[in-house]
Symmetry: C3
Subunit: 476 residues, 3 copies
């Protein structure tokens, strides 16, 4: 191991290369480096913090649940099963030998991550959190595994301790409308807990009225809400009931992700009739889509009334590789983006609620073409619309630079919603926010260097982007 390449995080990483620009960027980054993490959208389970159970092993922490990590290994021929993906509860997690093998697969494929943000996130975790000082490789894999495993046995690496160390101010989870939010409640009632974990209302599958299993979901919604979902008004009331329940447990937003962003309105009678057909399982595919789009309009209406910020993450081809989905389930790395269209899709909602003071709509996309053509122009007119941070495949340094460069000229900075980590990889949260802060510092420094902005304005702006704006946009 004496000859292993070192792993060192350079203090100027991701800052602009030009020395004069870098100087400004360094000052801007220093101003926000230690500000708290505001995370209004993500996928960490609240139970981790409620139970504060130690993380089990390096693989189940860093590899198995992270489809960013898995998909690239798979693209180089690694079997997802070897990474612990798709195991049932009865399977349980990988045993020690298999976990160690998975970690070796990651380390021996380290060059595959060159140029990707996954490398940045993993390096930051390994070096900053676990004190690893050697570059991952086939040779160093076991040593790194041991070092991480040893750390995880320490109380300082339990979820609550990390929550504090990460300086998290608020962490949003993503939850099923029928979830009882027991973990959120437990945290709220725990006098030893001083953080803030808020649920997010994510009703996608309840709106996909033509999908297999939807009837059972509608029944479950009735059971949990106590509102009869046998009729259209009842179904809407049950959804509102659960939104209220979420709000009572601290929720500030409702998140939506369908194949498209459409919000076409039906007449009341059309909606009622289609809903009746849905309950009978007699909807055509087109009718199911029509009712789902109308339901999105209803969600916007409810948002304008109850104040849950509406966030949209549309345009993903889920489970693109049918055999992989069949073998391993959903969210295992074979989702592929698709084109998306916002202006026509959102017109019904924006005509009705676009200037409504209670309405907030944050738009995310995997289709970069919409940044300058659609999202920025919409957010640059409608008081309710905000530009969401680059998401998923676009959550990477050059993509974030393209995004800032593309949207700022139309909407400035104050109508962007602030960074969203959107992750289930808890330990990557600080690195993800730090990446955004470094890139914002670089972007603003470039404007200063080109005399497009004074440095005092840039300093004020980066502080706003980091904490003020997300708190304001998400009513935190």
């Amino acid at each position: 191991m004496a000859t292993a390449a070192p792993l060192q995080l350079h203090p100027d990483r991701l800052l602009p290369a030009d020395p004069a620009v870098r100087d400004v960027a360094r000052r801007l980054h220093q101003r926000v480096r230690d500000l708290p993490v505001v995370s209004p959208h993500g996928h960490v389970p609240a139970a981790w913090l409620a139970d504060d159970t130690p993380f089990r092993d390096p693989t189940s922490l860093l590899i198995t649940p992270d489809h960013y990590v898995n998909r690239l290994l798979h693209s180089h021929g690694v079997d997802l099963a070897d990474l612990g993906v798709g195991r049932s509860e009865t399977d349980g997690p990988l045993d020690e030998a298999a976990s160690r093998h998975a970690f070796r697969l990651l380390c021996s494929h380290w060059p595959a991550y060159r140029g990707t943000p996954v490398r940045f996130w993993l390096e930051a975790q390994l070096a900053e959190l676990f004190g690893v000082r050697v570059r991952p490789s086939a040779e160093t894999a076991d040593g790194i595994y041991d070092q991480v495993a040893a750390a995880l046995a320490d109380d300082a690496f339990r979820p609550r301790a990390l929550y504090d160390r990460f300086r998290i101010e608020v962490l949003a989870t993503t939850d099923d409308p029928c979830d009882d939010l027991a973990a959120h409640r437990a945290l709220a009632e725990d006098p030893t807990w001083h953080g803030r974990v808020v649920p997010t209302f994510r009703p996608d599958k309840y709106l996909e009225v033509g999908a297999p299993g939807w009837t059972a979901l509608a029944d479950r919604l009735e059971e949990v809400s106590g509102v009869d979902t046998g009729t259209w008004p009842g179904f809407l009331a049950a959804l509102q009931n659960r939104r209220d329940y979420f709000r009572a447990h601290g929720a500030v937003s409702a998140d939506h992700s369908h194949a498209d962003a459409r919000t076409d309105k039906l007449t009341p009678i059309e909606a009622l009739d289609l809903y009746d057909l849905a309950r009978k399982g007699e909807l055509t595919a087109d009718e199911a889509t029509a009712l789902r789009r109308h339901l999105m309009w209803e969600m916007a209406r409810m948002s304008s009334e109850d104040g849950l910020v509406m966030t949209l993450h549309p345009g993903v081809h889920r489970d693109h590789h049918a055999p992989t989905a069949g073998r391993f389930g959903h969210d295992v790395g074979c989702d592929i983006p698709r084109t998306v269209e916002f202006p026509s899709a959102l017109k019904p909602v924006l005509d009705d609620f676009g200037t409504h003071p209670g309405f907030r709509l944050v738009l995310f996309t995997l289709d970069e073409t919409t940044f300058s053509r659609e999202i920025a122009p919409l957010a640059g007119f409608y008081p309710s619309v905000f530009v969401g941070a680059p998401w998923w495949f676009l959550d990477a340094p050059d993509a974030i630079r393209r995004w800032r460069s593309t949207v700022s000229e139309t909407v400035g900075f104050a109508k962007t919603s602030g960074f969203i980590d959107d992750t289930r990889a808890f330990c990557s949260i600080p690195a993800r926010h730090d990446m955004a802060r470094r890139l914002d510092a670089g972007h603003l420094a470039q404007l200063v260097a080109e005399h497009r902005l004074d440095e005092d304005e840039a300093t004020e702006t980066i502080v706003e982007m980091t904490t003020t704006t997300p708190r304001k946009v998400f009513r935190l």
Copy 2:
């Protein structure tokens, strides 16, 4: 006011940050900085110059007519009415108190413009034209208002004096085909006037044969042209009549902006039949679109014959927010871009006139995806086709850089049409052209620094881009 931040225009603003590249860019910019302004497409009313009436007040000059300024304020919750938008002739402009209030709204929202070109344009006007030396803010608003208002009372700030000070060589207006062009005529006949203001033929609404009110427009066309528009051949002849009238009054181009760029040809009999239905108000929406697309082919045919350069600005969702359009009218900032397609859309016109020596077609877009995929490849083959400058939402530093970087590799520089300010904000014209010159200087300097172009070639190129090419492309 002693503590107000200063407003200073740095001489190197918008030039590349790298010192070596900036040196080259500075030399290139200096070469063209003082060249005359050639403005072959814009929206300043000719009457301003014919009448030479002093501008009324800071708000009606800088805020009310400029939807770039308004839309961003609106996106931060400002009521457009407070900015003087949508007032009828009987309403008249805002009174002194309201005008001052509007100006305060702008200044107190100054941080909203960070990162946008609007800030660059406004700063240039405030600092260079009006001598303002403090950064706009709630505190400095009244002082700046007074300073601008005082300047406007000076004869040196009347439209003709500014025309000279701005070194405008030619300024194109945009006009209704039935306009009598009285202001243009008055200027032509005025021996004290030495500038050049040319009309532009903009027939959009006369081609939207299915729109409400079209019949009245066709009647009006008949009245003004003296040609019977009751038949299809008559309608075409009346349009040609008005094109000839415009040419006789100095017009060099015809401008077109529809939802798409299609130019599908009908057979003579189909066109004749659809036109008859149009006159009876019996066209379906699809038939109206078909006839409009065919009319675009007829416009191209006429352009190839009469030499009016055809400019296309397609792909805008007009009046996206129906309630705002209902309350304030058109062009108030709620237009949103949409995707556009050129190669198939223009094939009928290009098959027929693409190599016709009399035909010129300049393509503009709000859909950046077409730069490298469609517009540059078309202009890189067809002698008639030129790449228009970045337009509207794309008329900003980083977008202009993306545009140059994207189109030049396929068409070089000589097939780009030159900068178009496209503005109704008269006082912003020098700043807009200066922005383009600075960015062209930066782009060329980068090529020089990377040894892709010699500096003597870069110097020759920037002069051509600035004055030679637009004069040639627009036959000025």
Copy 3:
């Protein structure tokens, strides 16, 4: 000529301008500058090397066959006929006077190529290969013509000598499935030949079952393969027969270019019925498209079985200007890109063969929007999918930078296929590969300068990109 501007290739051309970044880039470029050229896709005729006939004259070498050169001249009003385009065999090439005139047209339009890669390629050929020391212009045209013509008369400029001088390791041609590959065979049997020229199976027109002349092609396929193509199974067997013939002659890939990338499967009975209709010339346009798309699925199936790497170059509007195609034929510069969609289009193939160990699929595009949205996400999951290099209109410095910056963050470097010159301009091959190496060096140097990659990793990566990866991906 004493006053002519010099033509000098700067050793740092195309490297980043920032001095510190350039230092790193220079080291990286030096590491790969002299590595062999691996060219797995191109259009140089094998006969040139088999016959080793000297090139005839500067125009027929540098201008006539190169539609990159021609199209830009045409866009400035030059008649393609004056460049020797579209001459039949009986016409023969341009005579000396006409050839010299064509060369003068090129040189006098030299400024038209500023900012384009064509200039880089031509300069490299003129300066490095032919020793030209003056910038092309109307004045220097004849002198340069003479200098190039004199060189071509030298044995050192015959194809085989150049093949060696260019350090080509392997050169792929593109061939009709019915080609007897005589030139490839001659090379293989020639004991004095030590290079490697491999054919590529390009069956496009055999799959366009509804196109005029297809029946004759199917008959020809029967004749050449000796397999009855009167039935669907026979047609497939005949195609497989020719693939096997190509493989026996060294082919490593099959290349496909249709209007879209779709691979929709038909049932066996549907395919059989449509094929029968095709043989009778009774297919509708939609049916022809359906059968072509199914044939693409069959090609993928065969690729997974016989190991020919499948390369896709979809989304071109061929012969956009009908009059030009009518007068001069195909591939004369009036092809225009169109939008393309991959994830849905390829789903049938990827569901069936996406994880098949024998299957390789390399995706090229002229639609940049698919880089981050579709191609990189697909290659970042499927082991079989690789990101092809920027192609055609995108084979230029800034486009290549956009491409690297856009795809690397999702797939890293190891899932990009390596550079493809795709050219029929034999003498431009070294310049094209050198451009790619310089840009890769610049991209990696930027990552090093931003502390996103260590320099030892960058060095390893650029070597892999240049030779290791293309050898591996194309099974060379």
